[in-house]
Protein backbone atom coordinates (compact mmCIF):
# COMPACT_ATOMS: atom_id res chain seq x y z
CA UNK A 1 0.00 0.00 0.00
CA UNK A 2 1.50 3.34 -0.98
CA UNK A 3 0.82 6.74 0.54
CA UNK A 4 -1.63 7.72 -2.21
CA UNK A 5 -3.80 4.69 -1.48
CA UNK A 6 -3.75 5.50 2.22
CA UNK A 7 -4.82 9.06 1.52
CA UNK A 8 -7.66 7.87 -0.72
CA UNK A 9 -8.79 5.45 1.98
CA UNK A 10 -8.86 8.15 4.63
CA UNK A 11 -10.77 10.53 2.35
CA UNK A 12 -13.37 7.78 1.85
CA UNK A 13 -13.52 7.15 5.62
CA UNK A 14 -13.54 10.76 6.70
CA UNK A 15 -15.56 12.48 4.01
CA UNK A 16 -17.34 10.31 1.47
CA UNK A 17 -18.98 7.76 3.78
CA UNK A 18 -20.19 10.36 6.35
CA UNK A 19 -21.63 12.63 3.65
CA UNK A 20 -23.29 9.84 1.69
CA UNK A 21 -24.79 8.33 4.86
CA UNK A 22 -26.00 11.73 6.07
CA UNK A 23 -27.64 12.42 2.71
CA UNK A 24 -29.40 9.05 2.80
CA UNK A 25 -30.69 9.85 6.31
CA UNK A 26 -31.87 13.30 5.18
CA UNK A 27 -33.83 11.73 2.31
CA UNK A 28 -35.40 9.24 4.74
CA UNK A 29 -36.17 12.11 7.15
CA UNK A 30 -37.84 14.10 4.35
CA UNK A 31 -40.40 11.34 3.91
CA UNK A 32 -40.61 10.05 7.48
CA UNK A 33 -40.70 13.17 9.68
CA UNK A 34 -44.06 14.74 8.65
CA UNK A 35 -46.02 11.46 9.15
CA UNK A 36 -44.18 10.96 12.45
CA UNK A 37 -45.20 14.43 13.65
CA UNK A 38 -48.80 13.69 12.65
CA UNK A 39 -48.65 10.39 14.47
CA UNK A 40 -47.53 11.92 17.79
CA UNK A 41 -50.51 11.23 20.09
CA UNK A 42 -50.67 14.65 21.71
CA UNK A 43 -50.00 16.62 18.57
CA UNK A 44 -53.46 17.00 17.14
CA UNK A 45 -56.28 19.48 17.14
CA UNK A 46 -57.74 19.22 20.60
CA UNK A 47 -61.03 20.75 19.54
CA UNK A 48 -62.08 17.82 17.39
CA UNK A 49 -65.34 16.10 18.22
CA UNK A 50 -65.23 12.81 20.11
CA UNK A 51 -67.80 10.71 18.32
CA UNK A 52 -66.65 7.25 19.33
CA UNK A 53 -67.39 6.04 22.83
CA UNK A 54 -67.96 2.86 24.76
CA UNK A 55 -71.13 3.06 26.79
CA UNK A 56 -69.92 0.07 28.81
CA UNK A 57 -67.61 2.53 30.53
CA UNK A 58 -70.68 3.94 32.28
CA UNK A 59 -73.31 2.56 34.60
CA UNK A 60 -76.33 2.06 32.36
CA UNK A 61 -79.89 0.82 32.63
CA UNK A 62 -82.50 0.79 29.89
CA UNK A 63 -85.07 3.54 30.36
CA UNK A 64 -88.08 5.11 28.71
CA UNK A 65 -88.53 7.90 31.20
CA UNK A 66 -85.83 9.91 32.90
CA UNK A 67 -87.64 9.22 36.16
CA UNK A 68 -86.44 5.62 35.91
CA UNK A 69 -82.85 6.81 36.14
CA UNK A 70 -80.96 7.38 39.32
CA UNK A 71 -77.74 9.20 40.20
CA UNK A 72 -74.91 8.72 37.64
CA UNK A 73 -76.89 6.43 35.29
CA UNK A 74 -75.77 6.75 31.68
CA UNK A 75 -78.22 8.89 29.68
CA UNK A 76 -76.44 9.21 26.35
CA UNK A 77 -73.57 10.79 24.42
CA UNK A 78 -73.53 14.47 23.53
CA UNK A 79 -71.37 15.44 20.56
CA UNK A 80 -70.82 18.23 18.07
CA UNK A 81 -68.53 18.40 15.06
CA UNK A 82 -68.98 22.17 14.91
CA UNK A 83 -67.94 22.71 18.51
CA UNK A 84 -65.51 19.86 18.87
CA UNK A 85 -67.53 18.40 21.69
CA UNK A 86 -67.92 14.83 22.82
CA UNK A 87 -68.84 13.75 26.30
CA UNK A 88 -71.05 11.34 28.18
CA UNK A 89 -74.21 12.59 29.84
CA UNK A 90 -75.19 10.94 33.11
CA UNK A 91 -78.18 11.56 35.30
CA UNK A 92 -78.02 14.22 38.00
CA UNK A 93 -74.24 13.93 38.40
CA UNK A 94 -73.36 17.61 38.63
CA UNK A 95 -71.88 17.29 42.08
CA UNK A 96 -69.81 14.24 41.18
CA UNK A 97 -66.12 14.60 40.43
CA UNK A 98 -66.26 12.98 37.00
CA UNK A 99 -65.57 14.01 33.41
CA UNK A 100 -69.19 13.82 32.28
CA UNK A 101 -72.04 16.26 31.73
CA UNK A 102 -75.05 16.02 33.98
CA UNK A 103 -78.66 15.73 32.86
CA UNK A 104 -80.83 17.89 35.08
CA UNK A 105 -83.74 16.05 36.71
CA UNK A 106 -85.93 18.85 35.33
CA UNK A 107 -85.40 17.50 31.82
CA UNK A 108 -88.15 15.72 29.93
CA UNK A 109 -87.88 13.03 27.28
CA UNK A 110 -87.78 14.37 23.69
CA UNK A 111 -89.58 11.25 22.52
CA UNK A 112 -92.49 11.91 24.89
CA UNK A 113 -94.37 15.16 24.27
CA UNK A 114 -91.29 16.86 22.74
CA UNK A 115 -89.60 17.32 26.13
CA UNK A 116 -86.76 19.76 26.68
CA UNK A 117 -83.28 18.87 27.97
CA UNK A 118 -81.02 20.71 30.41
CA UNK A 119 -77.43 19.50 30.55
CA UNK A 120 -74.77 21.01 32.82
CA UNK A 121 -71.06 20.49 32.30
CA UNK A 122 -67.77 21.60 33.76
CA UNK A 123 -65.35 24.05 32.23
CA UNK A 124 -62.90 21.27 31.27
CA UNK A 125 -61.58 19.90 27.97
CA UNK A 126 -63.33 16.57 28.42
CA UNK A 127 -66.72 18.13 29.09
CA UNK A 128 -67.97 21.58 28.05
CA UNK A 129 -64.93 23.86 27.72
CA UNK A 130 -65.44 24.06 23.96
CA UNK A 131 -68.84 25.69 24.55
CA UNK A 132 -66.77 28.85 24.74
CA UNK A 133 -66.43 28.55 20.96
CA UNK A 134 -70.16 28.10 20.34
CA UNK A 135 -71.71 30.07 17.50
CA UNK A 136 -75.29 30.46 16.36
CA UNK A 137 -76.35 27.64 14.00
CA UNK A 138 -73.78 25.16 15.34
CA UNK A 139 -75.24 21.64 15.53
CA UNK A 140 -75.23 19.45 18.65
CA UNK A 141 -76.41 15.84 18.79
CA UNK A 142 -77.43 13.65 21.72
CA UNK A 143 -77.50 9.87 21.26
CA UNK A 144 -79.89 8.76 23.98
CA UNK A 145 -79.07 5.29 25.28
CA UNK A 146 -81.62 2.89 23.77
CA UNK A 147 -83.35 5.67 21.87
CA UNK A 148 -82.69 7.57 18.70
CA UNK A 149 -80.33 10.52 18.29
CA UNK A 150 -81.65 14.08 18.42
CA UNK A 151 -79.89 16.98 16.72
CA UNK A 152 -80.23 20.55 17.92
CA UNK A 153 -79.16 23.86 16.42
CA UNK A 154 -77.72 26.64 18.57
CA UNK A 155 -80.03 29.67 18.64
CA UNK A 156 -78.90 31.65 21.68
CA UNK A 157 -75.72 32.11 23.74
CA UNK A 158 -75.61 33.98 27.05
CA UNK A 159 -73.06 34.47 29.79
CA UNK A 160 -73.00 35.04 33.54
CA UNK A 161 -76.31 33.60 34.55
CA UNK A 162 -77.00 32.01 37.90
CA UNK A 163 -78.65 28.63 38.22
CA UNK A 164 -82.19 29.95 38.47
CA UNK A 165 -81.72 32.10 35.39
CA UNK A 166 -80.67 29.07 33.34
CA UNK A 167 -84.03 27.42 33.98
CA UNK A 168 -85.92 30.14 32.17
CA UNK A 169 -84.49 28.85 28.89
CA UNK A 170 -86.21 25.52 29.40
CA UNK A 171 -88.80 24.81 26.70
CA UNK A 172 -90.11 21.92 24.63
CA UNK A 173 -87.81 20.67 21.85
CA UNK A 174 -84.96 22.64 23.39
CA UNK A 175 -81.51 21.64 24.55
CA UNK A 176 -80.03 23.95 27.19
CA UNK A 177 -76.31 23.43 27.73
CA UNK A 178 -74.91 25.15 30.81
CA UNK A 179 -71.19 25.46 31.48
CA UNK A 180 -70.10 26.26 35.00
CA UNK A 181 -67.96 29.32 35.60
CA UNK A 182 -66.49 29.80 39.05
CA UNK A 183 -68.29 32.57 40.96
CA UNK A 184 -65.93 34.19 43.45
CA UNK A 185 -68.62 36.27 45.10
CA UNK A 186 -69.40 33.93 47.95
CA UNK A 187 -67.83 31.07 49.80
CA UNK A 188 -70.47 28.49 48.89
CA UNK A 189 -68.68 27.73 45.63
CA UNK A 190 -71.69 28.78 43.64
CA UNK A 191 -71.37 29.13 39.90
CA UNK A 192 -72.14 31.45 37.07
CA UNK A 193 -73.19 29.73 33.88
CA UNK A 194 -72.51 30.21 30.22
CA UNK A 195 -75.74 29.06 28.59
CA UNK A 196 -76.05 27.75 25.05
CA UNK A 197 -79.63 27.20 23.92
CA UNK A 198 -80.31 24.95 20.95
CA UNK A 199 -83.56 24.06 19.20
CA UNK A 200 -84.44 20.62 17.88
CA UNK A 201 -83.78 20.21 14.15
CA UNK A 202 -86.69 18.43 12.52
Amino acid sequence: MNLKNIKDNFIIFGLVVPLVFSLIVVVIAYFAVPPFIDWLPNNKDKTQAVLEFDKNDYYQISYDNFSELSLNNFVGWLSSDDLGLGCAVTFDSEKENTNVASLSPLSREPWINNGGIIVTGKNTDKTFRNLHKAKIEDKVTINFNGHEAYTYEVVEITNKENREETYRHYANDTLVMCMRINDFRNLKQDYLYKVVVAKLVR
Binding site: M1, F13, V26, I37, N43, N123, T124
Partner: protein, 345 residues
Protein backbone atom coordinates in the same frame (compact mmCIF):
# COMPACT_ATOMS: atom_id res chain seq x y z
CA UNK B 1 -10.53 -13.05 9.25
CA UNK B 2 -9.19 -12.76 5.73
CA UNK B 3 -7.16 -10.03 4.08
CA UNK B 4 -7.31 -6.62 5.76
CA UNK B 5 -8.07 -4.98 2.42
CA UNK B 6 -10.82 -7.36 1.44
CA UNK B 7 -13.93 -5.49 0.31
CA UNK B 8 -16.25 -7.68 2.40
CA UNK B 9 -14.46 -6.84 5.59
CA UNK B 10 -14.32 -3.16 4.72
CA UNK B 11 -18.07 -3.20 4.15
CA UNK B 12 -18.71 -4.94 7.47
CA UNK B 13 -16.41 -2.51 9.30
CA UNK B 14 -18.12 0.49 7.63
CA UNK B 15 -21.53 -0.89 8.62
CA UNK B 16 -20.35 -1.37 12.22
CA UNK B 17 -18.95 2.17 12.16
CA UNK B 18 -22.35 3.48 11.00
CA UNK B 19 -24.03 1.65 13.89
CA UNK B 20 -21.53 3.23 16.29
CA UNK B 21 -22.21 6.64 14.72
CA UNK B 22 -25.99 6.23 15.07
CA UNK B 23 -25.59 5.21 18.71
CA UNK B 24 -23.28 8.17 19.43
CA UNK B 25 -25.71 10.57 17.73
CA UNK B 26 -28.74 9.11 19.52
CA UNK B 27 -27.21 9.04 22.97
CA UNK B 28 -25.65 12.49 22.74
CA UNK B 29 -28.82 14.03 21.25
CA UNK B 30 -31.00 12.42 23.92
CA UNK B 31 -28.81 13.56 26.79
CA UNK B 32 -28.28 17.09 25.43
CA UNK B 33 -31.92 17.70 24.41
CA UNK B 34 -33.21 16.11 27.63
CA UNK B 35 -30.89 18.20 29.75
CA UNK B 36 -31.77 21.43 27.97
CA UNK B 37 -35.54 20.87 28.07
CA UNK B 38 -35.36 20.15 31.79
CA UNK B 39 -34.06 23.66 32.40
CA UNK B 40 -36.86 25.97 33.48
CA UNK B 41 -34.68 28.99 32.76
CA UNK B 42 -34.20 27.86 29.15
CA UNK B 43 -37.91 27.23 28.60
CA UNK B 44 -38.99 30.43 30.38
CA UNK B 45 -36.71 32.56 28.25
CA UNK B 46 -38.30 31.20 25.04
CA UNK B 47 -41.86 31.30 26.38
CA UNK B 48 -41.45 34.94 27.43
CA UNK B 49 -40.82 35.84 23.79
CA UNK B 50 -44.52 35.12 23.20
CA UNK B 51 -45.84 37.63 25.72
CA UNK B 52 -47.20 40.03 23.11
CA UNK B 53 -49.00 37.23 21.24
CA UNK B 54 -50.67 36.10 24.45
CA UNK B 55 -51.48 39.62 25.59
CA UNK B 56 -53.05 40.49 22.23
CA UNK B 57 -55.05 37.27 22.34
CA UNK B 58 -56.22 38.08 25.87
CA UNK B 59 -57.15 41.66 25.04
CA UNK B 60 -59.05 40.60 21.93
CA UNK B 61 -60.99 37.93 23.78
CA UNK B 62 -61.69 40.30 26.66
CA UNK B 63 -63.04 42.86 24.23
CA UNK B 64 -65.15 40.26 22.44
CA UNK B 65 -66.79 38.88 25.57
CA UNK B 66 -66.79 41.69 28.10
CA UNK B 67 -68.08 44.32 25.69
CA UNK B 68 -71.21 42.22 25.31
CA UNK B 69 -71.58 41.11 28.92
CA UNK B 70 -70.32 43.90 31.16
CA UNK B 71 -71.32 47.45 31.96
CA UNK B 72 -67.64 48.31 32.44
CA UNK B 73 -65.57 49.36 29.44
CA UNK B 74 -63.07 46.86 28.10
CA UNK B 75 -60.19 49.15 29.10
CA UNK B 76 -61.08 48.67 32.77
CA UNK B 77 -60.34 44.93 32.34
CA UNK B 78 -57.28 45.27 30.12
CA UNK B 79 -55.76 47.78 32.55
CA UNK B 80 -56.40 45.44 35.47
CA UNK B 81 -54.43 42.54 33.98
CA UNK B 82 -51.60 43.39 31.61
CA UNK B 83 -48.13 42.49 30.43
CA UNK B 84 -46.68 41.77 33.88
CA UNK B 85 -49.44 39.25 34.64
CA UNK B 86 -49.01 37.62 31.24
CA UNK B 87 -45.28 37.23 31.91
CA UNK B 88 -46.08 35.57 35.23
CA UNK B 89 -48.47 33.25 33.42
CA UNK B 90 -45.80 32.34 30.86
CA UNK B 91 -43.35 31.53 33.65
CA UNK B 92 -45.98 29.36 35.31
CA UNK B 93 -46.74 27.65 32.01
CA UNK B 94 -43.03 26.92 31.53
CA UNK B 95 -43.04 25.08 34.84
CA UNK B 96 -46.26 23.27 33.93
CA UNK B 97 -44.78 22.13 30.61
CA UNK B 98 -41.65 20.81 32.28
CA UNK B 99 -43.27 19.16 35.28
CA UNK B 100 -46.47 18.08 33.53
CA UNK B 101 -49.26 20.09 35.15
CA UNK B 102 -52.47 21.44 33.68
CA UNK B 103 -52.73 25.20 33.36
CA UNK B 104 -55.97 26.26 34.98
CA UNK B 105 -56.84 29.76 36.18
CA UNK B 106 -60.58 29.18 36.59
CA UNK B 107 -60.30 29.22 40.38
CA UNK B 108 -57.50 31.75 40.73
CA UNK B 109 -58.33 34.04 43.64
CA UNK B 110 -55.33 36.18 42.72
CA UNK B 111 -56.66 36.91 39.25
CA UNK B 112 -60.08 37.62 40.69
CA UNK B 113 -58.60 40.12 43.12
CA UNK B 114 -56.56 41.77 40.30
CA UNK B 115 -59.70 42.26 38.23
CA UNK B 116 -61.74 43.35 41.24
CA UNK B 117 -59.09 45.87 42.25
CA UNK B 118 -58.86 47.11 38.66
CA UNK B 119 -62.61 47.61 38.35
CA UNK B 120 -62.79 49.27 41.75
CA UNK B 121 -59.99 51.65 40.75
CA UNK B 122 -61.83 52.39 37.53
CA UNK B 123 -64.93 53.33 39.57
CA UNK B 124 -62.85 55.52 41.87
CA UNK B 125 -61.09 57.24 38.98
CA UNK B 126 -64.41 57.99 37.31
CA UNK B 127 -66.23 58.98 40.51
CA UNK B 128 -68.65 56.06 40.30
CA UNK B 129 -70.20 55.35 43.68
CA UNK B 130 -69.64 51.77 44.81
CA UNK B 131 -72.93 50.82 46.40
CA UNK B 132 -73.80 47.17 47.17
CA UNK B 133 -75.31 46.74 43.70
CA UNK B 134 -72.18 48.10 42.01
CA UNK B 135 -70.00 45.95 44.26
CA UNK B 136 -71.97 42.90 43.19
CA UNK B 137 -71.53 43.95 39.55
CA UNK B 138 -67.78 44.33 40.07
CA UNK B 139 -67.54 40.89 41.67
CA UNK B 140 -69.65 39.20 39.02
CA UNK B 141 -67.79 40.81 36.12
CA UNK B 142 -64.48 40.00 37.78
CA UNK B 143 -65.56 36.35 37.98
CA UNK B 144 -66.48 36.43 34.32
CA UNK B 145 -63.18 38.13 33.45
CA UNK B 146 -61.30 35.34 35.23
CA UNK B 147 -63.15 32.88 33.01
CA UNK B 148 -62.19 34.87 29.91
CA UNK B 149 -58.58 34.86 31.12
CA UNK B 150 -58.82 31.11 31.62
CA UNK B 151 -60.28 30.65 28.13
CA UNK B 152 -57.23 32.33 26.66
CA UNK B 153 -54.43 31.29 29.02
CA UNK B 154 -55.78 28.13 30.63
CA UNK B 155 -54.87 24.89 28.90
CA UNK B 156 -55.14 21.37 30.20
CA UNK B 157 -52.84 19.98 27.51
CA UNK B 158 -49.74 21.53 29.11
CA UNK B 159 -49.72 18.46 31.35
CA UNK B 160 -48.44 16.24 28.56
CA UNK B 161 -46.22 17.80 25.93
CA UNK B 162 -44.13 14.91 24.67
CA UNK B 163 -40.67 16.56 24.33
CA UNK B 164 -40.82 17.90 27.89
CA UNK B 165 -42.26 14.70 29.34
CA UNK B 166 -39.61 12.61 27.60
CA UNK B 167 -36.94 14.97 28.94
CA UNK B 168 -38.30 14.52 32.47
CA UNK B 169 -38.48 10.74 32.16
CA UNK B 170 -35.53 8.37 32.49
CA UNK B 171 -35.85 7.39 28.80
CA UNK B 172 -32.88 9.48 27.52
CA UNK B 173 -30.56 8.03 30.16
CA UNK B 174 -31.73 4.45 29.53
CA UNK B 175 -31.39 4.99 25.76
CA UNK B 176 -27.88 6.37 26.29
CA UNK B 177 -26.88 3.30 28.34
CA UNK B 178 -28.25 0.95 25.67
CA UNK B 179 -26.44 2.92 22.96
CA UNK B 180 -23.14 2.83 24.79
CA UNK B 181 -23.50 -0.93 25.36
CA UNK B 182 -24.00 -1.34 21.60
CA UNK B 183 -20.99 0.92 20.95
CA UNK B 184 -18.75 -1.24 23.19
CA UNK B 185 -19.86 -4.40 21.37
CA UNK B 186 -19.24 -2.73 17.99
CA UNK B 187 -15.75 -1.57 19.02
CA UNK B 188 -14.90 -5.14 20.07
CA UNK B 189 -16.10 -6.36 16.66
CA UNK B 190 -13.92 -3.76 14.93
CA UNK B 191 -10.94 -4.82 17.04
CA UNK B 192 -11.52 -8.45 16.15
CA UNK B 193 -11.81 -7.65 12.45
CA UNK B 194 -8.69 -5.46 12.32
CA UNK B 195 -5.32 -6.93 13.34
CA UNK B 196 -3.64 -3.54 13.28
CA UNK B 197 -5.09 -0.98 15.68
CA UNK B 198 -4.76 1.86 13.21
CA UNK B 199 -7.57 0.63 10.99
CA UNK B 200 -9.81 0.22 14.06
CA UNK B 201 -9.10 3.78 15.16
CA UNK B 202 -9.83 5.09 11.70
CA UNK B 203 -13.25 3.38 11.76
CA UNK B 204 -13.99 4.87 15.19
CA UNK B 205 -12.90 8.29 13.97
CA UNK B 206 -15.20 7.78 10.98
CA UNK B 207 -18.06 7.01 13.42
CA UNK B 208 -17.52 10.33 15.16
CA UNK B 209 -17.46 12.18 11.86
CA UNK B 210 -20.69 10.46 10.73
CA UNK B 211 -22.35 11.16 14.11
CA UNK B 212 -21.27 14.78 13.89
CA UNK B 213 -22.45 15.09 10.30
CA UNK B 214 -25.83 13.59 11.24
CA UNK B 215 -26.20 15.93 14.20
CA UNK B 216 -25.34 18.94 12.08
CA UNK B 217 -27.24 18.11 8.92
CA UNK B 218 -30.48 16.71 10.42
CA UNK B 219 -31.21 19.65 12.79
CA UNK B 220 -30.36 22.14 10.04
CA UNK B 221 -32.61 20.23 7.66
CA UNK B 222 -35.42 20.31 10.26
CA UNK B 223 -34.94 24.05 10.71
CA UNK B 224 -34.90 24.70 6.95
CA UNK B 225 -38.05 22.61 6.49
CA UNK B 226 -39.61 24.44 9.47
CA UNK B 227 -40.68 21.17 11.11
CA UNK B 228 -40.93 22.76 14.60
CA UNK B 229 -43.92 24.81 13.42
CA UNK B 230 -45.80 21.58 12.63
CA UNK B 231 -46.05 20.83 16.34
CA UNK B 232 -49.39 21.73 17.86
CA UNK B 233 -49.09 20.41 21.36
CA UNK B 234 -51.39 22.88 23.14
CA UNK B 235 -54.62 24.75 22.46
CA UNK B 236 -53.00 28.14 23.01
CA UNK B 237 -51.23 29.63 20.01
CA UNK B 238 -48.75 31.57 22.15
CA UNK B 239 -47.67 28.41 24.00
CA UNK B 240 -47.25 26.56 20.70
CA UNK B 241 -45.02 29.37 19.45
CA UNK B 242 -43.01 29.25 22.70
CA UNK B 243 -42.60 25.47 22.38
CA UNK B 244 -41.54 26.00 18.75
CA UNK B 245 -38.83 28.44 19.89
CA UNK B 246 -37.65 25.87 22.46
CA UNK B 247 -37.46 23.10 19.86
CA UNK B 248 -35.68 25.35 17.36
CA UNK B 249 -33.05 26.32 19.92
CA UNK B 250 -32.60 22.69 20.97
CA UNK B 251 -31.99 21.83 17.31
CA UNK B 252 -29.39 24.60 17.08
CA UNK B 253 -27.67 23.30 20.23
CA UNK B 254 -27.69 19.78 18.78
CA UNK B 255 -26.12 21.09 15.56
CA UNK B 256 -23.41 22.78 17.64
CA UNK B 257 -22.79 19.57 19.59
CA UNK B 258 -22.64 17.74 16.26
CA UNK B 259 -19.95 20.17 15.18
CA UNK B 260 -17.87 19.28 18.25
CA UNK B 261 -18.30 15.55 17.56
CA UNK B 262 -17.33 16.02 13.91
CA UNK B 263 -14.26 18.01 14.98
CA UNK B 264 -13.21 15.23 17.38
CA UNK B 265 -13.66 12.75 14.52
CA UNK B 266 -11.67 14.83 12.03
CA UNK B 267 -8.81 15.44 14.48
CA UNK B 268 -8.71 11.72 15.39
CA UNK B 269 -8.77 10.75 11.73
CA UNK B 270 -5.94 13.15 11.02
CA UNK B 271 -3.85 11.78 13.89
CA UNK B 272 -4.44 8.21 12.71
CA UNK B 273 -3.66 9.20 9.11
CA UNK B 274 -0.39 10.90 10.04
CA UNK B 275 0.68 8.02 12.28
CA UNK B 276 -0.17 5.53 9.55
CA UNK B 277 1.71 7.52 6.92
CA UNK B 278 4.76 7.68 9.20
CA UNK B 279 4.74 3.92 9.67
CA UNK B 280 4.43 3.24 5.94
CA UNK B 281 7.15 5.80 5.27
CA UNK B 282 9.46 4.11 7.84
CA UNK B 283 8.84 0.73 6.26
CA UNK B 284 9.63 2.09 2.83
CA UNK B 285 12.83 3.71 4.07
CA UNK B 286 13.99 0.48 5.71
CA UNK B 287 13.13 -1.51 2.60
CA UNK B 288 14.97 0.98 0.40
CA UNK B 289 18.08 0.62 2.59
CA UNK B 290 17.84 -3.19 2.51
CA UNK B 291 17.40 -3.12 -1.25
CA UNK B 292 20.34 -0.77 -1.68
CA UNK B 293 22.56 -3.03 0.43
CA UNK B 294 21.44 -6.08 -1.53
CA UNK B 295 22.17 -4.34 -4.84
CA UNK B 296 25.60 -3.25 -3.64
CA UNK B 297 26.38 -6.79 -2.51
CA UNK B 298 25.20 -8.24 -5.82
CA UNK B 299 27.22 -5.68 -7.75
CA UNK B 300 30.33 -6.43 -5.75
CA UNK B 301 29.77 -10.14 -6.23
CA UNK B 302 29.29 -9.60 -9.96
CA UNK B 303 32.37 -7.41 -10.24
CA UNK B 304 34.46 -9.98 -8.33
CA UNK B 305 33.33 -12.82 -10.56
CA UNK B 306 33.96 -10.71 -13.67
CA UNK B 307 37.40 -9.63 -12.52
CA UNK B 308 38.44 -13.15 -11.74
CA UNK B 309 36.98 -14.54 -14.98
CA UNK B 310 34.62 -16.87 -13.14
CA UNK B 311 31.64 -16.20 -15.47
CA UNK B 312 31.08 -17.22 -19.06
CA UNK B 313 29.68 -14.65 -21.57
CA UNK B 314 26.14 -16.12 -21.31
CA UNK B 315 26.16 -16.04 -17.51
CA UNK B 316 27.28 -12.39 -17.58
CA UNK B 317 24.34 -11.50 -19.87
CA UNK B 318 21.88 -13.45 -17.68
CA UNK B 319 23.01 -11.76 -14.46
CA UNK B 320 22.68 -8.30 -16.05
CA UNK B 321 19.14 -9.19 -17.24
CA UNK B 322 18.27 -10.38 -13.72
CA UNK B 323 19.41 -7.09 -12.22
CA UNK B 324 17.21 -5.14 -14.64
CA UNK B 325 14.22 -7.42 -13.84
CA UNK B 326 14.64 -6.95 -10.08
CA UNK B 327 14.71 -3.18 -10.53
CA UNK B 328 11.39 -3.39 -12.45
CA UNK B 329 9.41 -5.36 -9.84
CA UNK B 330 10.60 -3.73 -6.62
CA UNK B 331 7.90 -1.02 -6.65
CA UNK B 332 5.08 -3.61 -6.98
CA UNK B 333 6.55 -5.67 -4.17
CA UNK B 334 6.43 -2.70 -1.82
CA UNK B 335 2.70 -2.14 -2.45
CA UNK B 336 1.83 -5.56 -1.09
CA UNK B 337 3.64 -5.14 2.19
CA UNK B 338 1.45 -4.10 5.13
CA UNK B 339 2.72 -2.62 8.40
CA UNK B 340 1.50 -5.64 10.39
CA UNK B 341 3.10 -8.02 7.93
CA UNK B 342 6.31 -6.13 8.35
CA UNK B 343 5.98 -6.04 12.13
CA UNK B 344 5.63 -9.85 12.28
CA UNK B 345 8.87 -10.23 10.34
Amino acid sequence: MGDINSKGKKTICSFVAIIIASCIALSVSGIVAGGVLKSQQFVEKRMLKCDTILLDELNNKTEEIMSANSTFPVKAFTDAVGAAHVNTVLKQVSGNLIYGYKTDFSKSEYLYSYYKTGLTSYCNRNSIAIDPYMEDMISRDSSLAVDVFNQVCGDESTNFVIPFQEAQSSDPVVAAFVCWAIIIVCVLILRKLNYGDYFMYSYIAMSFIIAGALMIILPLFALIMDYPSLFNFTDVEAYNVGIKYCIEDVLKILAGTGGILALIGIVSMNVVYNRYCNIVSDIQTEMDIAEKLRKEYMQEQFNYEMENGLLSEDETKLKKANQLFMNDIEEDDLDDIEPEHYKKK
